[in-house]
């Protein structure tokens, strides 16, 4: 099998299946062997990264959402995948000259999922780019200091958690103000990249290959237009609804929690852990509502509620339990028309899905 060469590269599906069981078992050695065997048998290192490791990583996320693996397994599997990527980058088949250009890859502050950015960085290296990989949770001041010192041709920012979009916006505008073009990617920017455009990114890519192609087309290395103001991107922020809700998140969660306990005497019998989960769920709802106010987009909040409903259902909690929390939040934010609109849209979706 090994000697057949590039003409008969192994089937990605079969390699994926083997890697999946190895990472789930946190078996690093088997995981590395599976990928190395595939590369030795003719699979391109880029295909190993994107069609095998990235797919397995994606499956880890969806298996967690479906409650088929634990959060600890998710972390373990991710760590194993990360080690496989590190090992692969030292495989002789992955050696490339770095002549295409110089870019910086980083995760937005608060974004701890480093693996997608890592896969992107390795893909770019394989295609001949010199890459500075700054990793997860990069505070914007560190990123800007890096740009001043190293002057890359472009910055690639990764963000998968939608609630980090305001931070991503700050990072995008700061990079551009430092004269560097920004390409963004990750689930947070929406399946069609709409939030990337809204937040003024120079480019958006749904995956690593597209990102590389977009870089090849060329982003302006020097941004000569200097008159752009960040507030121009989001004129609706003038109504202060975002800042109002953002500043009172903790109080909103506490009040919603207290009122829920009033309405549902059964909650008095909740264990500490159940109470903690409920409070964390409400905090998430408030976080997403805040972010939806920032980008003024119904879909962002509605799809979060739909997703949460799915996660709860998978864990045996009826999705309808989200309804009272939404009602209570709406009652507390009665003075804020955009918040009312967002919550109403989410309630409607929830009603149509649970009826």
């Amino acid at each position: 099998m090994r000697s057949q060469g590039a003409a008969s590269a192994p089937d990605a599906g079969a390699v994926r299946a083997r890697l999946w069981s190895a990472v789930l078992d946190a078996d690093e050695d088997t995981a590395v062997d599976v990928v190395f065997e595939a590369v030795d048998a003719g699979m391109a290192p880029e295909d190993a990264l994107l069609d095998v490791i990235a797919s397995v990583q994606q499956r880890i996320g969806s298996e967690w959402a479906a409650n088929r693996i634990t959060v600890a397994q998710e972390h373990a599997a991710t760590a194993i995948n990360d080690r496989v990527i590190a090992a692969l980058s030292r495989h002789p088949a992955a050696a490339r000259p770095d002549s295409a250009g110089h870019v910086t890859v980083a995760c937005v502050d608060g974004e701890w999922h480093a693996l997608p950015a890592r896969l992107l960085a390795e893909t770019l290296r394989l295609r001949g780019w010199r890459v500075d990989f700054l990793g997860a949770q990069v505070p914007t001041p560190h990123l800007i200091a890096h740009l001043h010192q190293h002057a890359p041709d472009a910055v690639l920012l990764s963000c998968s958690i939608a609630t980090r979009l305001p931070t991503a916006h700050a990072a995008i505008t700061a990079c551009q103000a430092a004269g560097v073009s920004v390409l963004v990617g990750g689930a947070a920017f929406g399946p069609d990249g709409r939030y990337a455009r809204m937040l003024g990114a120079d480019a958006w890519a749904p995956d690593a290959r597209t990102a590389e192609a977009r870089l090849r087309e060329g982003l302006p290395r020097l941004r000569l237009a200097s008159t752009h103001q960040a507030i121009d991107d989001l004129p609706h922020l003038a109504d202060q609804e975002y800042s109002t809700v953002n500043a009172s998140k903790g109080a909103l969660v506490a009040a919603t929690m207290a009122e829920l306990e009033n309405r549902f005497p059964a909650m008095a019998g909740y264990s500490d852990e159940q109470r903690h989960h409920t409070r964390a769920d409400i905090a998430h709802i408030v976080d997403f509502l805040t972010t939806a106010l920032y980008v003024d987009d119904d879909d962002l909040f509605t799809s979060f509620i739909t997703w949460t409903a799915g996660v709860l259902t998978a864990r045996g909690v009826p999705a309808a339990s989200l309804r009272p929390a939404l009602e209570l939040l709406a009652a507390q934010l009665s003075q804020l028309p955009r918040a009312q609109r967002l919550i109403a849209a989410a309630r409607q979706t929830l009603d149509s899905e649970t009826s």
């Binding site: 050695d29 590395v32 190395f36 972390h75 373990a76 760590a79 020097l222 903790g250």
Partner: protein
Amino acid sequence: MREKASLGDAVWQAVPHPVVVVDQDGLIREVNAAARTLLPAATPGARWSTEVIEAHPTPLPDGSTAWWLSADTDRELRDTREALARERARAAFLDDASAVLMSSLNVERCMEATAQMAARNLADAAVVVAPETGRELHLVHSGPGGSAHRLNVDEDPADVPGLPEALRGFPPVPSRPLDPALLPEWLVPRHLAGLVGSVLITPLPGHGVAAGALVLLRHESQPRFSESDDLYARLFAARAGAALSAARLYAEQASITRTLMRDLMPPRLERLDDFELAGGYRASADHELVGGDFYDVHPAATPDGETLVVLGDVCGKGLDAAVLTGKIRNTLQALAPLADQHEWVLRLLNSALLSPENARFATVVLASIARRDGQVALRLTCAGHPAPLIVRNDGTVEEADTRGMLVGALPQFRARSFETTLAPGETCLLYTDGLTEARGGPLGGEVFGDERLAAAMAQCAGLPAEAVVERMMMLASEWVSDREHDDMAVVAITAPRRTHLSAVDGHTPGRYIA
């Protein structure tokens, strides 16, 4: 009092002199053709104003006024308008140039921006020459279509008349035109080769730091550089020079900082054969890379020796605290060979910190790690530090039973060590109180606390070291969200679930975890 017998308005059109008739209310009634070309904004019905033009009034019998526009304002006005438009464009360009130049503190980018903007607004091509630093001369050429590219040439600027003076930066020299015939090839951007009609060399004034020179080139079909072009070029050069010297100063400072900080940064943790180590670090302030928390690793000197891991917390935050972490790390590195006696090492560290200049104290935890009989043997000693947590394979979480006084506060020191072993899959977590004392959570002001940390650790049985660290850093970052927090540091020591074959399969020399 209006008289009916006024001059018919049509008459004014026949008057060869520019004239505007204004009624008693101050509104324009009539503008003849000669006046229209002069004052396009003056239309019947508009309000009349003599602010924009010199004019002489003649009262008319019907109470209105004929304004005779001053005869030679005609050409003057047109010239003034053109000059105004030109100056406005130049002011707008200089304003834009300042904004672009100020945005980057990178020397290369500033040079590129200077060449690009000069080629777009002052000439057909431009070359920025960096001040001489080494044997090679560093240049940026503007290219076609607003591009710019860097190149290094092994040439002597003395071959170009006027260039050495412009590069020196001081004493100030005026811009200087140059005969294109004297221009060496390396100073001509490729798209203008053989077509240069005129050249102007302008110094980039750098406020005490040499900032380089700007060479402007025009195509032979274009007019030569005029005196006003020269003035304009110097205004631009002043801005570019200031930006370039600021960028150069920043680069020097950043390089000094980098050198001084190198030993203060948390180390990369190398993969060791017998156990896994992973570390996580987050400084309290976003703009800082280091703070008062630290960790370090001193690998075993012999294959069967002990590896020493140190994690600690100096009281206070920021750079002052970071400097002391550097001293502690250096001291502990020197003491590492004595680490079979933790208490002894900590006693020496304590006395080293008890100098009159040092008012800060610190808490430290030492972990000596060795592989014994398929298990990882651990010796842990705390000096005023939170006790490490150990997660067993069944999910129980133990607190290491070690206690000691903090270091750098009192002349005497005492501590009690704790020994244990990790079976494959088990992890010992060293952490600083920045993690447990982090404030935030769903309600905003709650402390993360020991219980949450222990509960999180209970989930970590069987995980690789990096996964444990990632989980802890993620929980902490979720907990504090955008709020202020103290420095945080964690190190996970894990007994791998399987023996690693990475050392023997030949594929993966020197893998790292960090």
